[in-house]
Symmetry: C2
Subunit: 251 residues, 2 copies
């Protein structure tokens, strides 16, 4: 499994990916799942994959080959809009999966992948896209401007909260880490280190960070999170103290 | 879908069930999914079902028929231990599902159900069981003493937290409501009103409550929860303010 998330906030974009990959529970490894491309000064692209690791790797290699090719080749440098980059990525994704589909089907495997693509091209507003294995894409929701791929359920409540509350980039990054911690605690196939990136609108510059499993930041975040969460829960209004409710009603 | 949860804490047991049922998104209804049986003074049983509503209803009817039958019939009154009640419930559950299996298979449907069974019999410690459609059961985990059935992922983090922190029954009830709210916000097939029950160890008496969709308690709980959660997140240590991290590293 995998857990990657991306949020679009008033100030910019926040990305966070785990690094755990697995081919069965007895074959766990660590791979980066946050990939950055800045092929020209006016553009930044962040890619987060879920699904087949092999397809992802070949797609990334084809992106690099296209960037090194002569002008005239479609690439992340040539596209005029972020949605064109989504279509370009979708085409590579579909072509790579198709190349191996028959051989994989023969062993009952599936080579499809899904990507979150985020960033900014020129003066267009920064945006997030979900690129499907079939090559088409959707924008992030205007009402709930975040995307998740992989194990999305355990950590959803915090993203929901962050975009509703309109938090700043620094707070959003902490929310992203909280969402990741909730997920990795519940699903062993999601795990550290975590790779993050923060993009401030119009900056065309991405700030990246990695949080290691044994980092004091992660431990501190976890301790304070638990401590404060307890105080929140205690501050909630009481609604069912046994002495205040009705006695048993046999069914 | 459904979301039912039960927690075993130092002071006793907490149960909470939603009431939404659906046969497709265009066929939504409301049914109670928290059922209480107190067939004698020394025993309390709480049943929470997930899965086929028809199987659940027939199982409940068979439980009532057995309780009204002459002595000598196995029933919730006759069992000597809570795990015997789990086996008894499991047998009814398996038999009812088997009775309709062929007819349901012909239309591609599945009539299985799963139950959480909790309570206390005599002086035995209060306990929680998960009763499978095949009729067997498992105890609640000693290390993570809570059970969930139905849509369990969205609200898991809070239960995890409550049992780790060893909260009291009142706080646990608020945690249960928080877990339910997180789930119903994320999955339309889980919804209010919510039925709850709190059992204090050794009391052989259950205190029940219902929280309606438009209740001021639920609204207050939700508002305070959001407000405090924001303050918790803001109190977390900062780890990725754009100005403090490395500039972009092309992939």
């Amino acid at each position: 499994m995998t857990y990657c998330l991306a949020m679009r906030l008033d100030e910019g974009l926040v990305f966070l990916s785990d690094t755990r990959t697995n081919a069965g529970v007895d074959n766990i490894s660590t791979y980066r799942k946050l990939h950055v491309f800045t092929p020209a000064e006016d553009r930044v692209f962040v890619l987060q994959p879920a699904g087949s690791l092999a397809t992802t790797h070949q797609v990334l290699d084809r992106i690099r080959v296209d960037l090194a090719a002569p002008n005239g080749t479609e690439s992340l440098r040539s596209v005029d809009h972020l949605h064109e980059a989504a279509l370009y990525l979708g085409r590579l994704n579909r072509e790579v999966a198709a190349e191996h589909a028959q051989a994989l089907a023969a062993v009952g495997a599936d080579g499809t992948a899904t990507f979150i693509l985020g960033g900014q091209v020129g003066d267009e507003p920064p945006e997030l896209f979900l690129v499907h294995g079939e090559g088409n894409y959707i924008h992030v929701s205007e009402d709930r401007p975040f995307l998740q791929i992989g194990e999305s359920k355990y950590g959803k409540f915090l993203l929901d909260f962050a975009v509703t509350a309109g938090v700043d980039l620094d707070t959003a990054t902490k929310v992203a880490l909280g969402s990741m911690m909730s997920t990795s605690r519940a699903n062993l196939s999601v795990g550290p280190p975590y790779d993050g990136a923060v993009y401030r609108n119009g900056s065309h510059e991405l700030h990246q960070f990695r949080v290691e499993a044994d980092s004091s930041v992660l431990r501190e975040l976890q301790e304070i999170w638990y401590l404060h969460l307890l105080s929140v829960i205690e501050a909630l209004p009481s609604l069912a103290a046994p002495e205040e409710t009705d006695a048993v009603q046999p069914d």
